[in-house]
Amino acid sequence: MSDPGARVRGVATEPLIHARGLVKRFGSFTAVDGIDVDVQPGEAFGFLGPNGAGKSSTMRMVGCVSPPTGGTLRILGMDPRRDGPAIRGRLGVCPQLDNLDPELTVRENLTTYARYFGIPRKVARQRADELLDFVQLTERAGSKVEPLSGGMKRRLTIARALVNEPEIVLLDEPTTGLDPQARHLVWERLFRLKQQGVTLVLTTHYMDEAEQLCDRLVVMDAGKIVAEGSPRELIERYSTREVVELRFTAESQEGFADKLAGIGERVEVLPDRILLYVEDGDAALAAVHERALTPASVLERRSSLEDVFLHLTGRTLVD
């Protein structure tokens, strides 16, 4: 895999995460099937993919809680098989499902966790207060975790992941299940971390999240990496600049596909609408009207990472 991050900076720093031919098997099932990844210092790196693509298995290997079945994996220049505890001491992990202690207070969740990293009690208390301020939970410091909202719990989990001042923060689906306000607040905090130079590695299946946060990302499908690049690069490579969505009133959209053939680079027929992948939406629409077709509704939009994602991993439901 090429190494755009290092090239841009023009320095030959060793990547913080370096994987070659990384494999994870569970019995006969191959969850991760030989992936190559390099994450550079200060980068925000994303793993995208449908459920079961192997994102979480990859994150668990990077988090040194799951030994790789095959291939090379080096984190912070160390070998997870041998140096697990030393590496974990320099990572922050925000798991997919919160594992905060509901019986402890917000603050105690941070201070007890800090102790696992060997942080002295006094420093732990001080850092807990700073982090609660950072994630805007200072007012809830003394309350139990149980009654907190999903967004507050998520922010507390992120704060807990920062308690050891980690060099890499691993976030597994950081905003899944949150309402829009809560998601934006989490994004904003993560963006600030990134500005402070913390390396972020996240998995997501939200395309807007990837576009907001990731400098570079890989798309995974069935354990393999199927595309890699910046969000913009991926859109340029795998989609067109614009997309025109047409809805016809007729029972089936199918019949209109032939009549639209030749407009744009690709025509995709969905049960409720037809998508035209084009460079210029206005020109394409003019061509549609020229053919005397009158769709009931029209939407012109810019291509998004979602188009890339669906193109690469298909529209079939994976559960």
Binding site: F26, R88, P95, N99, D101, E103, L104, T112, Y113, Y116
Partner: protein, 249 residues
């Protein structure tokens, strides 16, 4: 390991008052119920000691066992499946032995606090015959470890908490009734006695009884300690294997 133990202490601090109060309830009820009630029917006591004095050390060991098994069932299942405490700990520099060892230390701590409460009540009722009664503390701690470790292995293997209720119904309660707490094992039919002798509880009971009555145990002290240690070490190894299977995947 200290950091993990500390976490459990911080959690316990939130409930310790209620927990300490209830630790005194069983001993008090026992003194009243058995001392004034049942004891009156047992003429001449057992082996030369009044029935209450003979039974209390057995109950101290039995309480240590019940507290230890309880703390090793639902809390362990929850730490895997519901709260997922272990998953959070495994993501830090803490090692598998720290996760398991820190939790087991807390189980022993809980068993010890229950024994202290029991000893205080027993002292007030004058049923302790020897300063050796203090030996019930290390005996109880060893017994707690010997039953908690294999219970950790069990709780981390089962998929639903209904299996935990089975453990109480078919193992803990029969053991508490027949392992020499309330009547001598020799009263059991010969064929069933070996079951009582095989249970870790009987070994804790015999040692505790010797300690509070200030007499020699029925079995050798070294034999008792060795037998309980086998349970402790074997149980720990099983639990460790099961924890590795669940946490390092």
């Amino acid at each position: 390991m200290a950091a993990v133990f500390e976490f459990y202490l911080v959690s316990y601090r939130r409930v310790w008052r209620g927990s300490a109060m209830s630790s005194f309830v069983l001993p008090l009820l026992t003194m009243l119920g058995f001392g004034l009630g049942v004891g009156a029917y047992v003429e001449g006591g057992v082996d030369g000691a009044p029935y209450l004095d003979w039974m209390v050390p057995g109950l101290i060991a039995s309480t240590a066992l019940q507290v230890a098994v309880f703390e090793s069932t639902w809390p362990v299942l929850s730490s895997f499946n519901w709260v997922r405490t272990y998953e959070g700990q495994a993501a830090t520099p803490v090692r598998l032995d720290d996760i398991l060892g820190g939790n087991l230390l807390f189980v022993m701590f809980r068993a010890l606090t229950s024994i202290v409460a029991f000893l205080l009540v027993a002292l007030a009722f004058g049923v302790l015959h020897s300063p050796w009664a203090l030996a019930t503390l290390p005996i109880g701690a060893l017994l707690a470890f010997a039953v908690a470790a294999p219970t950790f292995a069990y709780s981390s293997s089962v998929t639903s908490d209904s299996f935990l209720a089975l453990l109480f119904r078919f193992v803990v309660i029969p053991m508490s009734l027949f392992a020499g707490v309330f009547f001598p094992v020799e009263s059991l039919p010969v064929g069933l006695r070996w079951l009582a002798y095989a249970s870790p509880l009987w070994h804790g009971v015999d040692l505790s009884r010797a300690a509070t009555l200030g007499v020699a145990p029925e079995w050798s002290v070294a034999g008792h300690l060795a037998y309980l240690s086998v349970w402790a070490v074997g149980g720990y190894l099983l639990a460790r294997r099961q924890f590795a299977k669940r946490l390092v995947v």
